[in-house]
Structures are given as C-alpha cells and as structure tokens.
C-alpha cells in the first residue's frame, strides 16, 4: 500500500493524542492520550520498516536485514515503565487532594 496512508493515519492519531493532553482535565484520560501518541509513533516506525525493506536500496545490497520494527518493542517497554510511575504519582495526587483534576495543581502560580 501507499506509504502516505500510513503517515496520514499516524499523524492523525498523534494530533488527537496531543489535543487530548491539552484539553482533558482528568489525569487518567491524559495518560491514555499519551499512550495514543506513543502508539501512533509505533505505527509509523513499522510502516517505514516495511517500506524500506521493499524498496530498491534493500534489493541492491545482499546482506540487508529488514528488522527495524524491533525498535517498536523498545518504545513499548518504555511506555510500560513510564505508565507505572505515572499512575503511582496519580495515586499520591488523589490521596492528597481527593480528585484527579489537573487544574488543582496551580501551586507554582506567579
């Protein structure tokens, strides 16, 4: 398939994720949007890996290994670690303020 479709899809997902981070008030929803952004990037990486493997450059050199999609696993591992830490912070936030509304966190004002 045309690589453009994958790029557009990935971009769309990424933008939806960003807008979600900026707009939503609930901290857990913000984390979901962050995950969405990471997954959009994963999709892009897999698509490019497949594209590169099928391109002329790859056919030219004999010992070409088309395994760039391995990088996606690294991103997933990082995402998992980061989610665990982030959820721990949200639990502490809930214990102190009894809500998960990020607009409460304005102690650094002025």
């Amino acid at each position: 398939m045309d690589i453009k479709a994958y790029i557009i899809l990935s971009l769309t997902l990424f933008t939806i994720g960003i807008i979600g981070v900026l707009i939503r008030r609930n901290a857990i929803i913000i984390f979901m949007c962050i995950e969405l952004m990471l997954n959009a990037v994963n999709l892009l990486l897999v698509a490019f890996s497949k594209m590169h493997a099928a391109s002329a450059v790859a056919k030219a050199s004999p010992d070409f290994v088309g395994d760039a999609q391995i990088f996606v696993f690294f991103i997933m591992v990082v995402a998992a670690a980061e989610v665990s830490v982030g959820l721990a912070i949200i639990v502490m936030l809930y214990r102190n303020t009894h809500s998960v509304d990020v607009n409460f966190l304005n102690r650094l004002k002025n």
């Binding site: 960003i18 900026l22 707009i23 990020v102 607009n103 304005n106 004002k109 002025n110």
Partner: protein
C-alpha cells in the same frame, strides 16, 4: 672628562632629593632644617654647575646617556643630558639665582607654620629639578617632561596660600593657559617624529635629517613650538596668567615668573635655532608677536598701582624683547637678555618683597613713599636694578637690550622704532615705581610707618649679590664697537648657533650707525627716566579711578574680559547645555529607560506562570511546532 658625565646627573637629582626629604618630612622637620636642606641642595647643584661650566668652557661638550626611556623599533627616545655651552650657561643662572632666592625665602616665609614652610621648600626644589631637566634634556621629550614639571610647580606655588579662592583661581588660570601652549609643543613633537623619526636634538639638527623636512614642515613645526613658547613665556595671546600669578609669594614670583620658568620658551627656541633660521615666516611671526607683547605690556604697566603687577607686566614686556631678538636671528642677544633679565628682575622682585615685608603686607604703591630713609640697602639695590632695566650704560640691561635693538634695526627700522618707544616706556614706569615707593613723603598709616625697618641679613645679602650681577653682568657682552673681541658671551655660545650663522646673511651695521642707535635709545630712556623721577617724587596720593584712556590702560585693555566673553562664557553655556539636556535627559533617560523597560517586560512575562500544568504543556507543543517549521526551511 668622564667626571662630567659622572656628576651631571647629580645636578638635577640633588634638588629632587631635597623635594623628597622636605615633602615627606614636612610634619616633622623644623623650619630651620627644612630651609637648610632646601637651600643647600641648590647650592650643591650650583657648585657642580660651576665645575661643568668650566669644563665646557675648555671645549668639552657631552651628551650623557643614562638609560633608554622609550625603546621600540620605530622610535627610540633615550634619557640623555646634553651638556654644552647653552645648557651650562642656563644651569648657572638657574642654580645661582635659585640658591639666592632659597636663602631669601628662609627669611621671607618665616611666619609660615612649619608644615607649610617645608611644603614651600619642597615645591621650590621640585621646580628647580624640573627646570634643570628642561635645560639639560638632549631631546624634546625630556625637555617636555621638565616643561610640564615647571608648569605644575608654578600651579602649586601660585596657589600656595590655598585657602584663598582668588589665589587658587589664579593658579588654575596659569596651569590651563600653560596647557594650551603645551598642546602646540606636543603637536610639533609628533610632527617631527612622523617626518624625521627621532626627537633627539643632535639627530634632528644634523644635515641629513633637515633635508627630510619640507619648508611647510619646518614652518609648521616651528610655529607650533612657538605656540608652546607663548604659553610658557607669556606672550600674546597667552600672557594673562602672569600678572594674576603675582598671587603667589614674592620669592616665587622672582624665581619662576622672572628668572627661570618664563625663559623656558626662549631656551627652547634658542636650542632649535637652526629650525627657526630655516623658517623665515615663523621668525617674522615671532618678532611681531614679541614686539606687540612688549608694547602692550609696557602700556599696561604705566597705570598699575600694585608694585608686583608693574613688575609682572614689565616681565611680559622684557620677554617680548627676547622674542624680538629670536625673531630677527639675534640668538646670542636673546640669551644675553635672558641672563641680564634674570639678574635685574629677580633683584627687583626680591626688593619689592623686602618693601612689602617692611610695609606689613601692603602692596599698593599709593600707600608707600619716602622709604629711602628707612631701608638703605633695599633702596640702593632697587635703584641699581631700575637703572639696569631702563638700559642705562654701563649696567647690564644696556648691553643686552642694545644688542637686540641693533639686530632689530638691521632687520627692520620699524621694529627698532617701536622697540625704542617701549624702552622709553620701560624707563618711565620703572622710575614711576621707584619714585612712588622710595621718594617723596610716606603716604601710609601711622602704624605702618612705625613698622618700617630694613630687612634682615638673609634678605639683604641676596639683594646685594644680585645688584652686583645686575651692574657688572653686562660686561661679558661688550659689543664690537666698544672693544674688539669684547663679546665673550658670543664667542662662548658660538658653537651652539654656528649652524644658523652659517646660513644667515649677516647685515653688519657700520660703527657710526650703531653709535647713533645707542645714543637715540639711551637718550630717550634718560629723558623718560628724568621725567618720571621728577613727576613721581612729588606724587600726591589720589585714590580716584582713572578716566578716559588711562582707564583702558589701568584695566589692562580689557583683555581678560574679552577672553571671558569670547571663550569662557560660550564654553560655560555649552557645558550647561550638555549637563541639563544631554546628561540629564538623554543619557539618564536611556539608563532609566532600560530599567523601566525590563520592569514592564518582566511584569508581562509573569502572566505565563499560571501554575496550570495544561498551559505549560501547550507551550511545549507550540515550541516543538515552531522548531519543526524552522527546520523545514533550513
């Protein structure tokens, strides 16, 4: 012969040591010791100068090299002393007359507190050191160091009684006017360096170096040097500081403003005589300025009532004569007049000091009179000084003044004519001074009359010595018409002016012309003398303000007011403008404005810190977008 090189450096250094001792120890030394140290170092320099003079008279001239002052590839300025006929003669004058004045000062200043007394002698020694540096320097830079030093000491000594604002104003005036002249001197030195590449006298005056200079160069350089001389030696237009400088103690006026500092300009031109001989345009300027100053100052002196002011204007006038001599090429005559003038002017000033001392500080001649009876030695020496300055034969002033006038006549009879008129005015105002002070009846208060007494020995002995010099000092320069080979001074100074003499066309006057010139000037002066003697021995005191032309003379031709209006007031308004508008509004505005702008900006930027996490993330995203767009275009 090597001895001269070994001791020459001592001559200026000894007064410097005196300065350091008296200056550093002014709080602890007693008056007797301070005076002794101050005078003895100058005496020691005088004795060394005699030795040097005798060596030079036997034909040994030297350039003593001490160390390299400035040593870069394109310019080498060495700290050298040039010991030749001209400098050794000036050494004798400076240290000799200086020593007499130091001795005089020990008695004249004895009422001062010990700390100020030592300070006075320290400054006086520093002055002698600077003046010696000036005349002994072997290049223009060392001369300039001394030149600046004497200007500084003049400022320090004029403002010696610093608690009086008028005196310190006079000191500042002297220093500023000197500085204006110094600018001319410096420009000339820079010009010389750029064209010839050296400042040493021997190297500049050598024939190869002179060829590198075009006529424009030489005229420009000599004119600029002359500007320096007008400042230091009080010629038009920079002479107004000298009468005001009479605010200093009288011995200071005698040493600095009669015998030594003011002759620095003449020394400098005499040293550079070959440059001036090669620039006839400058010589004409020098001669005209000299005679104009001589006449102007003489007219002003006719109507002054302060005894020191008359002598001050007389100094300016006599300096004018010396410049006339330089301008017509009579270098020996000018130097001769420097010598005789040092003798009789110092004598006159010291005598005036003795009179002021006896009168308890009174300086107005209208309150004096009849002092002949009370002060024999002062009266007699003062009379001899007046006769000398009036140019009466056979006193010293006659020989030197006549030599200049004869040279002026062979250059231009008009110059000579004005010179004779000035000589008559000189005789008149000097004997006006003499008559008002010493003859007639005493016009002061009763208590002043009781206080009148002859001055102590420390004052009268220098007066006597100077009187002897003023009377017999002219005999070293007897002109050809009287005695063949009698002009010992000219023979002595021959090597210094040999280069100039080789290229000037000598106009010799016939003997009969010279006799006639002498007769005319002496008769004229004699008539003026007798007229003044008669008129002022019968002087009736009047404190009335003069009117008409006399008022213009008494107010010094309003030159100070002219300078005030033309130069000082515009400068003051300019600085008021700069202060109020540029300093306060523009520069302060910029500085304060920067502060205000930063303040405003920071208040606006503070709104960014809302504490809302969402806003911070938004800013991160915006930043990433911007970077992304930028990298698209680069």
């Amino acid at each position: 012969m090597n001895n001269v090189l070994q001791i020459a450096w001592l001559i200026p250094v000894l007064p410097l040591i005196g300065f350091i001792i008296n200056g550093a120890g002014r709080n602890i030394l007693s008056k007797g010791i301070a005076g002794f140290i101050g005078s003895s170092v100058v005496l020691a320099s005088f004795l060394l100068s005699i030795y040097v003079f005798i060596q030079v008279a036997n034909g040994n001239t030297h350039v003593a090299h001490y160390f390299n002052f400035i040593n870069i590839e394109t310019l080498k300025i060495a700290f050298d002393f040039k010991i030749d006929q001209l400098s050794s003669l000036f050494l004798l004058i400076i240290t000799g007359v200086g020593f007499l004045i130091h001795v005089y000062s020990t008695s004249y200043m004895h009422n001062e507190p010990a700390k100020d007394f030592a300070k006075y002698f320290a400054y006086l020694n520093l002055f002698v050191f600077s003046m010696l540096l000036l005349v002994m320097g072997a290049n223009y830079v060392i001369m300039f160091i001394g030149w600046e030093g004497v200007g500084l000491c003049s400022y320090l000594l004029i403002g010696y009684w610093f608690k009086n604002n008028d005196y310190t104003d006079a000191a500042k005036k002297a220093f500023v006017m000197n500085r204006i002249g110094d600018l001319g001197f410096l420009l000339a030195v820079f010009w010389l360096i750029s064209k010839v590449g050296t400042v040493s006298f021997d190297e500049i005056f050598a024939a190869e170096s002179l060829q590198k200079l075009s006529t424009t160069d030489i005229t420009g350089i000599t004119l600029l040097l002359f500007v320096g001389a007008t400042g230091k030696s009080a010629q038009i237009p920079l002479y107004t500081w000298l009468p005001d400088a009479m605010a200093g103690p009288t011995p200071v006026s005698a040493l600095i403003h009669a015998a030594t500092m003011v002759t620095a300009g003449i020394y400098m031109i005499a040293r550079s005589n070959i440059l001036y001989t090669m620039a006839p345009v400058t010589q004409a300027v020098v001669a005209i300025t000299g005679i104009a100053t001589a006449v102007l100052a003489a007219t002003i002196a006719l109507k002054q009532n302060d005894i020191k002011k008359v002598l001050a204007y007389s100094t300016v006038s006599q300096l004018g004569y010396m410049f006339v001599g330089l301008g017509v090429g009579a270098y020996t005559g000018a130097v001769f007049h420097v010598m005789t003038h040092a003798f009789f002017k110092a004598l006159l000033f010291l005598g005036a000091g003795s009179v002021i001392h006896a009168m308890g500080g009174e300086q107005d001649m209208r309150n004096m009179g009849g002092l002949k009876k009370h002060m024999n030695i002062t009266h007699l020496t003062f009379l001899l000084g007046c006769l000398a300055i009036a140019g009466m034969p056979p006193f010293s002033g006659f020989f030197s003044k006549d030599e200049i006038l004869a040279a002026a006549f062979s250059n231009s009879p008009v110059l000579w004519g004005i010179g004779v008129i000035t000589a008559m005015m000189t005789a008149f105002y000097m004997f006006r001074l003499y008559g008002m002070t010493f003859l007639g009846k005493f016009r002061g208060t009763h208590e002043q009359e009781h206080h009148l007494h002859e001055s102590p020995v420390a004052i009268t002995i220098p007066l006597i010595i100077l009187a002897i010099l003023a009377v017999f000092g002219g005999l070293v320069g007897i002109p050809e018409v009287f005695m063949h080979g009698g002009h010992k001074l000219e023979a002595f100074l021959e090597p210094v002016f040999a280069q100039s003499n080789a290229i000037t066309v000598k106009h010799s006057l016939s003997h009969s012309t010279e006799y006639m010139l002498m007769a005319v000037s002496v008769t004229g002066a004699l008539i003026a003398l007798i007229y003044a003697w008669n008129k002022y021995s019968k002087y009736q005191k009047t404190m009335a303000e003069p009117t008409g032309f006399a008022k213009i003379l008494a107010n010094k031709w309003y030159v100070d007011e002219l300078y005030n209006g033309m130069i000082i007031s515009p400068l003051k308004s300019l600085s008021v403008f700069f202060n109020n508008i540029i300093e306060k509004k523009v520069i302060d505005g910029m500085v304060n404005g920067t502060g205000k702008a930063v303040n405003y900006g920071s208040r606006q930027l503070r709104w960014l810190q809302s504490g809302q996490v969402g806003a911070y993330i938004l800013l991160i995203v915006i930043g990433i977008l911007i970077l992304f767009i930028i990298q698209l275009f680069l």
